[in-house]
Symmetry: C2
């Protein structure tokens, strides 16, 4: 725990006790209070400003900012995503089998086409309603003994971390519009050819190995992507998955 992260955490606690628009103590004051140098305080505040918790006003002070409309799109699993939105995520494993990766999947996972690979098809629910259908592909060697039941009990990423000691370090996700086919429509309970998002994600672990390739179909009538746009300044354009509760969310 560096002083900087410690300072960051202490400031976050401060923020929790304040309301939007209120000023936090000055950098000089904080450096005295916490017993660290002002630069350390600044570094911690820098981070919080980047994350949208604080707003600096030169000559005036540093203030608690509006909660960001669009939160960071971090490396979240479906489970975390739903929890963050106060919904209860569940999962039904429709199918789980181990098959050779094949050419295309082998390329994605960076393994031999003959490599045994777990292919799991899951229906993802939020508060009991269908939200997405997901097909997971993982080299079997990474997750020996994985069962369909395992996937229903906890987040796959939690499982990866706790049972197999694998932590996800990053990934890349591609999003396209699509329409549901017969199988997807039936599983999701929506009309045939309903608009949907197709997510394709490849994740890699901290040692650089490709861990999974996931293909998900999200209901277009329940999901929207919202991104906040900022001009010029390379601040961050932060998109987020937002559940459409009723008809619209503005």
């Amino acid at each position: 725990m560096t002083k900087q992260t410690e300072t960051r955490d202490r400031v976050l606690e401060l923020i929790d006790r304040l309301t939007v628009g209120q000023a936090i103590p000055s950098e000089r004051q904080l450096s005295v209070d916490f017993g660290v140098s002002r630069l350390t305080v600044r570094a911690a505040l820098d981070e919080l400003v980047r994350e949208g918790h604080l707003i600096r006003r030169r000559g005036s002070g540093t203030f608690v900012s509006e909660p960001k409309i669009a939160q960071e799109l971090t490396m979240t699993s479906f489970t975390e995503d739903m929890r963050r939105r106060g919904m209860r995520p569940t999962s039904q494993t429709i199918d789980l089998r181990v098959v050779p990766a094949g050419a295309r999947l082998g390329r994605f996972l960076n393994v031999s086409p003959s490599e045994p690979t777990v292919v799991a098809k899951r229906l993802r629910l939020a508060d009991g309603e269908t939200m997405a259908i997901e097909t997971l592909h993982v080299p079997n060697a990474l997750v020996p003994g994985l069962t369909g039941k395992d996937l229903e009990l906890q987040s796959f990423y939690e499982l990866l971390s706790e049972r197999y000691g694998i932590t996800i370090a990053g990934g890349i996700q591609q999003i396209e519009p699509t329409v549901t086919n017969e199988e997807e429509s039936e599983a999701l309970g929506v009309p045939l050819h309903s608009p949907a998002f197709l997510f394709e994600r490849t994740s890699r672990s901290s040692d650089g190995k490709t861990v999974e390739f996931v293909r998900s179909i999200y209901r277009g009538d329940r999901y929207v992507l919202v991104s906040e746009l900022t001009p010029q300044t390379p601040r961050t354009g932060v998109p987020v998955l937002t559940v459409r509760d009723d008809g619209r969310v503005y």
Copy 2:
């Protein structure tokens, strides 16, 4: 021009002359070369690392990184977006009329329902191929005398800035999957009910006024959203519009 931004620029020049994977001089060396403190060099490098130009390796050095797959999604117009990808953006104004805002649009634009509003429908092309169809809504008072031809000659945001003195300060964009209707299919030259992205964007100027509401339909077969995912650490998840040149882009 602060020393930090100056240092940043000089390092960027350095990067241009190097290839991916090569090391830049050490922080201490740069601070001597540029005649600034190491702290200043670090701050400049911090920014470049955040933007994805450089990668630090403790004990080893700082290296030129792969160009980021996902660039920042800044407040871009279609025009800027296409230019950044090396394509030539053009525009055909299909229709332009001034009508009362009405209830729904008035709410979006934060004006009275009877407020005269420019509604312009444009076909957006990239390298001569249809890419999107866009319907622009702007209070007429903000852009008096706007013609359909104006919109074909330059970016609307450039026009706003140069002729009307309005600069866009931010906005929020919502993205959904949809399918094209008859009119859209015909205009875009795709089959009826083709998958497409629906973008709805509301932009505000620096003085807080809502400037525009834009509704765009992007061809799903030519557009994909790519977002790079980073775990835990609230670095930035940066999504971007990526043109699908051929069949796939991986």
